[in-house]
Subunit: 403 residues, 2 copies
Amino acid sequence: MIVLEDALTLLLNHAPLPCSTTRYPLAECFGRILAEDITSTMDFPPFNRSPLDGYAVQLKDIVHVSPEHPVLLMQIESVPAGSVPCKIVTSGQATRIMTGAKIPEGADAVVRLEDTRLVNDQIEILTADKAATNICSQGEEIRINEKVLTTGTLLEEGALGLLSMLGQANPLVFHKPKIGILATGSELLSPSAPMKLGKIRDSNSYMLLAKTLKAGGEPVLLGHVEDNLSSIITKLSELPDLPVYITTGGASVGDYDLMEKLFQELQIPLLFKGVAMKPGMPVLAGVWKNSLLIALSGNPAAGSVSFEMLISPLIRKITGLRNWNHKKTIVKLCGTFTKTSPTRRFVWARWFMKQGFIFAEPLSHQGNGMLKSALEANALLEIPAHNSPIKDGTELEAILLHL
Amino acid sequence: MIVLEDALTLLLNHAPLPCSTTRYPLAECFGRILAEDITSTMDFPPFNRSPLDGYAVQLKDIVHVSPEHPVLLMQIESVPAGSVPCKIVTSGQATRIMTGAKIPEGADAVVRLEDTRLVNDQIEILTADKAATNICSQGEEIRINEKVLTTGTLLEEGALGLLSMLGQANPLVFHKPKIGILATGSELLSPSAPMKLGKIRDSNSYMLLAKTLKAGGEPVLLGHVEDNLSSIITKLSELPDLPVYITTGGASVGDYDLMEKLFQELQIPLLFKGVAMKPGMPVLAGVWKNSLLIALSGNPAAGSVSFEMLISPLIRKITGLRNWNHKKTIVKLCGTFTKTSPTRRFVWARWFMKQGFIFAEPLSHQGNGMLKSALEANALLEIPAHNSPIKDGTELEAILLHL
């Protein structure tokens, strides 16, 4: 039996790192992890540019204008965005300029179109309000040689926009790690099989497939196998080469709990056996042919907690993600929690915000029927070991899983 | 100019609903939206079953046992999970039973394997602790005819596990709505094009692609088109038939702001023009050939706020998702906010938890360079209209975007 944090450290220390990398077209990079630092090869903006539609002028011409005392300027040029001004603005002149266009030489202010009026052929300037600040300076967003993005960044809207802006049409990203999922148990049927007496359909494989995808891995469903040693060994020998294998079932005590015998038979040295938490205590982990082999309980309530606490952070780490750890915070218990135990416990809960506070309410089905709770659960609430009954409003630690 | 909430209502009222549906293999359903209610055709568990490895016995035989006063029972059968017991347990007898196996007739309690000992051929029962509760009753998880999942559920771990358990190997799901994204602007280059003076690379398309994926839509990048009416009309006439088109650029004031002219030219009646918020005011929306055509500002800071506040909830609604609305909550301002405005404002911010409270810190780059802030941003903080400078710790509303 090992402390949860130590079990995770052992897994991380033996994780097959780092993943290999590849280049993808930018449009296919959403949700992937950047595998290179990105440095800008130029200033952004690359020149002083206008943030709005208006007239580029000399500030000294307009500094005293008001609607009662407007000035008239002569337009010398019109520069759409994407074009470049050719003429130098001198006193008494103005260049019509569009959002994003380069500020012409000689100009040091931009008057908004709304603050001007066309009077015959001349431009009447009605106010100079903020005109001097209506210039985006070269390099004010990003400086040449600035490191803009770093390895391990999750590619979402901000990063994709930046990569595009920086001309990174095919960024280097990590391959998603393939996670094998194998269910053991003679009672298991696939979801498409007709029901038979004494059997149940395998729900663990699909639950863990979803959790693997959420953590950024690529699940590989390996099907299910009967509860006997030679069937499991045969099955394992036929598997593709993957960095991590997760099995469910046969990790607890009893005659048909075969995973420990399997580890012995295949001479896989155990990293650990059993984790000091409830549910999810039965976990066996070892290194098998340079891959991690991790056996979880076949009980969905136990297996799902083991997966969330150990395998999800492991997968996130292997994806190359920089912030791979759990999001922990203090929450207030909503309701009471009367179950006591000498063992540290994790309880599926629903966290919510009320008046700026975070509350977490344990869900009613924790053991059997936990899949129904998993529909609602967005947190795991930690109940410390040797707890007394816990009152409404008590502060506890929780791991937030999603919004 | 229209209030944000009214603009969203107009879009939702004219949204092309509902999406068409299709069946997918369960392993490909993660992240999709269920398009049918799922009712169970059987009880779960389908029979009284054992939650652990042990011996099924008659409670009256063991009710007074203790390690000092054990009882001996005769094993009559051994039932692995997936098999069915054949023999009736009578007084003095025990059936070896595995996790998940059916409780044999006659038995009304299960003693944990750890609380027993093999003594010659007999089973010594050392404690009856909780033995009567070690039975999962037929139907305690799910009753026959119970509605377990409803239309509009996002398919994640709990739902995938339940669908598998219920034998739904090919559930009915909504197609992801295709969202066309077209950037207008003569200054735009694709990310793979070499840089030219006066040009910038299109970052909006990829930012909005990412936001579309996040909202559950399927982005269709339509490229970019020059700032002139006939080019835009030609481009639009060549586009595939999509339920929603988003354009960026040309939605503001000025000569080269062509989208309003486009709406007039194509005789598209406006649903609204301009939304009372900062940034992101320039938005034009109309119904064009049974599709929504929504023109956003080409300014990334403005376009991204318009998208987040209007288009993201629209897409979530069209996907069929039940909980499509923003996650709003009260947060405490971290730092001060000195900018004042007569217009309601949304500020990119980083929310975080400290001692059970939610704080939000506005990010430094809001306008130019906002893509750098978007790397960090996980909330939009709402600054009410006509605000005074706001003090550290003030309670404000925020929309939480992710953890």
